[in-house]
């Protein structure tokens, strides 16, 4: 390890005997844990639309995300740390996305890349479009743009690193046995339209209300 790296890590500022400098660092558990995680973020190889092309550009020679330890794209969710939702989320696709998310092991993060993933973007009004992935998944970083440039993506990923830096083993959800279920998002399914299992009672009530209204109108017309 280079001296500078150690200096960065050695925050509690304990005196290290001169003969051991360069070989020893005294640090907190949180810091070393986060240092490891943030320096090897493995995104899932998963592109939805136009934004994915800029994601590939960010990986390629000119922008080279590898400099920040974010280049190991994994085709399997089991090996990924971060899901970059790069593109328009459609109703037809969203069950697959949620399933992929549920298959990712903790700790996991979600980055919404571009206007579409953040809130529907130019296609928000479309009948097959989910207006933002945050309707289903907890998003850690939003990156604006249509498409965000590779620099913007890298900036977003650095923000994610900063977020990771601030986490503490004591509070993270994945070591808390009780919260186990909190991380599995119920998978929506395709009926006459997209059905979010969490909203079934609400949908039912509203549909019944609409039916009642219709009934009221019908006799009046007759």
């Amino acid at each position: 390890m280079k001296d500078e790296d150690l200096r960065d890590l050695n925050l509690p500022n304990y005196e290290i005997p001169p003969e051991l400098t360069g070989q020893l660092a005294i640090t907190t558990l949180d810091r070393i844990y986060n240092f490891g995680r943030r320096s090897s973020l493995w995104p899932m190889m998963f592109g939805l639309a136009c934004c994915a092309i800029e994601m590939i550009c960010a990986q390629a020679g000119r922008y080279d995300m590898a400099r920040f330890g974010m280049e190991v794209m994994r085709p399997s969710p089991r090996q990924s740390d971060v899901m970059i939702v790069a593109g328009t989320v459609t109703k037809k696709m969203v069950p697959a996305i949620i399933r992929l998310y549920n298959q990712m092991p903790e700790p996991k993060y979600v980055v919404a890349m571009g206007a579409c993933a953040s809130g529907g973007g130019p296609f928000k009004e479309g009948y097959n479009v989910v207006a933002g992935i945050d309707k289903f998944l907890p998003v850690d970083v939003y990156i604006p743009g249509c498409p965000p440039t590779p620099q913007a993506l890298i900036h977003g990923m650095i923000l994610l690193q900063q977020k990771i830096d601030r986490q503490s083993i004591k509070h993270v959800r994945w070591y808390d046995g009780k919260k186990e279920d909190a991380v599995a998002v119920p998978v929506p399914y395709l009926g006459p339209d997209l059905i979010d299992p969490r909203r079934i009672p609400e949908i039912k009530a509203k549909a019944a209300e609409l039916a009642a209204q219709e009934q009221q109108i019908a006799p009046q017309q007759a």
Partner: protein, 581 residues
């Protein structure tokens, strides 16, 4: 076959009395055929008149007249202008039209799309399932009386938002507080799910193999996608395998169906321009051109001379970067993980720099306007382009050629794999490099010239084996030809204005229809537009090469190994933005 008379002078109405009449609505051309005689007419048009190439098929909903029309654009693969004909049925369910799949197999997906989005039942179609939406979805969303959950008004600009700029979240106004809609009284708990996949699996031919030596062999079904590293996006293919050999295959799409056409029909004419960027997001310049061309045809306006040259320059640069990426990604699919692709991206960045300098955006250029382009190219960019086309790109294409073309692995993986004959390619309405690799020298830049391509000296690249190797080679050939065009264009670009019209937000488009087609890097990109004279298009249909070229995917893949399927798909050169729209 005798030399047919040109369609304009040909009186098809006299040939089919009572069944065919000329389309005399102002601004329309072609013929109207009754559904009963449609097949006979189509057969005649193909066999006697030589229009062997069905390019576009789409439905148009004329709600006020209560008619659902289906439009066919056919061309001759020997070149020349096309023929348009239409048939229609009253807008009461079921809307039934005979399927032309027996005459032009390339109608397959396009008819399925019209069924999915418009509910036109094509009688005789062997596999009429939804294609973009899922089986079980409520309604046919492109119909004019179908409203989405975030429906605001029929057309933009929405008065509620303009001119005082008040914005209310669509979520706040939608009945269910989100982009979803259910019938009154719908009960998600009592609702029995119909398996959206059932029809799909039924449509796969499940051949049962024989029992040999007492061992019964069965086939397995493999789902590739929608999240799969080799499907170039959210494309899915369901493959039936016998060992490693593909015996049946169905592409499943729609995972990126973002309702381009529905939104396009609410937009104003100009508002659609940036949306076209997002069709084939590698080539926003060519997409812009296709749309601009179709609207210019409708408006009958000229294009500024300098802008014509700029358009050619941008479109050909776009083609080169598209083909470079295609070759890089194809090598990826063959297992040369990312090295060639990285080289390709290096060159692409240089071309994107030019795009960014002239248009302000790397990918979503939104650069063309009706009658010209939006900004001029400055001296600096022109110098950059000159450097690229006279020095760097020819060298780099040469380098790619040297590195890859004779490579042993490439030759053995590509040569003789998944061939498509010229007849098949035409029948399946293949377009662009896929068609030309099969020995059909059909290039719209020559066959049905647009812009100023007739002024340039270049050859239509053509290869004759129709296999994967030729599909690779043709891309290299085309890059060489693009360089030739570019060199002539940058030398002869004149000074002058860059637009024939004053910049304006509103566009006056006279009523009528038009079909504008350009030779995109992936194949024919066509826009079928209907105007009613209003500030918004009545019909906005995009005929995309990625979508239609996949019609032959099953044909190409049967009998090959599953590992080859990945490469075959790669060589078709699909991009999901325009495949699913």
């Amino acid at each position: 076959m005798t030399t047919p008379a040109p369609a304009e002078t040909l009186d098809l109405a006299a040939r089919f009395p009572g069944a065919v009449s000329a389309d005399t609505r102002p601004g329309y051309t072609g013929w109207i055929v009754t559904p009963e005689k449609l097949l006979e007419f189509a057969q005649f048009v193909r066999d006697e008149l030589g229009y062997d190439y069905l390019v576009n098929l789409c439905a148009v909903d004329y709600l006020p007249e209560n008619r659902m029309e289906v439009v066919y654009n056919v061309f001759k693969t020997t070149g020349g202008p096309g023929l348009t004909f239409k048939t229609w049925a009253p807008r009461t369910d079921p809307i039934e039209i005979p399927s032309v799949i027996s005459i032009w197999p390339g109608a397959d997906f396009q008819e399925r799309e019209a069924w999915d989005l418009y509910g036109v039942k094509f009688i005789g179609h062997p596999d009429l399932r939804r294609i973009l939406m899922w089986e079980g979805f409520e309604g046919h969303p492109m119909r004019k009386d179908w409203q989405e959950a975030f429906y605001d008004e029929d057309v933009k600009p929405f008065k509620r938002r303009w001119p005082d700029g008040k914005h209310v979240y669509a979520e706040k106004r939608a009945v269910y507080g989100d982009n979803i809609n259910f019938k009154p009284g719908f009960d998600p708990e009592k609702w029995t799910p119909t398996d959206p996949e059932e029809a799909l699996y039924k449509s796969l031919k499940k051949y049962k193999s024989e029992t040999t030596d007492g061992i019964e062999t069965d086939h397995i079904i493999v789902n590739m996608g929608p999240q799969h590293p080799s499907t170039h996006g959210v494309f899915r293919a369901v493959v039936v395998l016998d060992g490693e050999t593909v015996v049946s295959l169905k592409p499943v799409m729609g995972y990126l169906h973002r309702n381009h056409e529905k939104i396009g029909e609410r937009n104003t004419w100009l508002q659609n321009m940036p949306y076209t960027d997002r069709l084939d997001y590698f080539n926003s310049m060519t997409n812009n051109w296709g749309y601009a061309l179709a609207v210019e045809k409708l408006m009958g306006i000229p294009v500024a001379e300098r802008a014509e040259y700029i358009r050619v320059i941008m479109a050909e640069l776009s083609r080169i970067q598209n083909h470079l990426i295609l070759i890089g990604m194809l090598l990826n699919d063959l297992g040369a993980y990312f090295t060639p692709a990285l080289y390709a991206f290096e060159e692409r960045e240089l071309i994107l720099d030019v795009f960014e300098a002239v248009s302000g955006s790397r990918m979503m250029c939104n650069y063309f306007r009706f009658g010209g382009v939006v900004r001029d190219i400055d001296e600096d960019s022109l110098r950059k382009i000159k450097d690229l086309v006279f020095d760097r790109l020819p060298r780099k294409i040469e380098e790619f050629d040297r590195l890859l073309t004779e490579n042993e692995i490439i030759v053995s993986r590509l040569k003789g794999v998944a061939p498509l004959t010229a007849e098949e390619a035409i029948a399946y309405s293949m377009a662009g490099p896929m068609l030309r690799a099969s020995g059909v020298p059909y290039d719209i830049r020559r066959a049905d010239p647009y812009g100023i391509y007739d002024r340039f000296d270049f050859d239509v690249a053509v290869r004759y084996n129709g296999d994967m190797y030729d599909r690779y080679l043709i891309r290299v050939d085309e890059m060489h030809q693009s360089i030739r065009i570019l060199q002539q264009a940058v030398k002869s670009i004149p000074e002058g204005p860059i637009a024939s019209q004053k910049p304006s937000y509103t566009t006056k488009v006279p009523p009528g229809e038009s079909y504008g087609r350009v030779e995109g890097p992936k194949g024919e990109l066509g826009f079928y537009l209907v105007s009613t004279g209003k500030p918004n298009p009545w019909r906005y249909h995009v005929r995309t090469p990625s979508f239609v070229n996949l019609t032959a995917l099953e044909k190409m893949c049967i009998g090959t190994k599953i590992a080859d399927f990945v490469a075959i798909l790669g060589a078709v050169d699909i991009v999901l933005g325009e495949l699913d729209r």
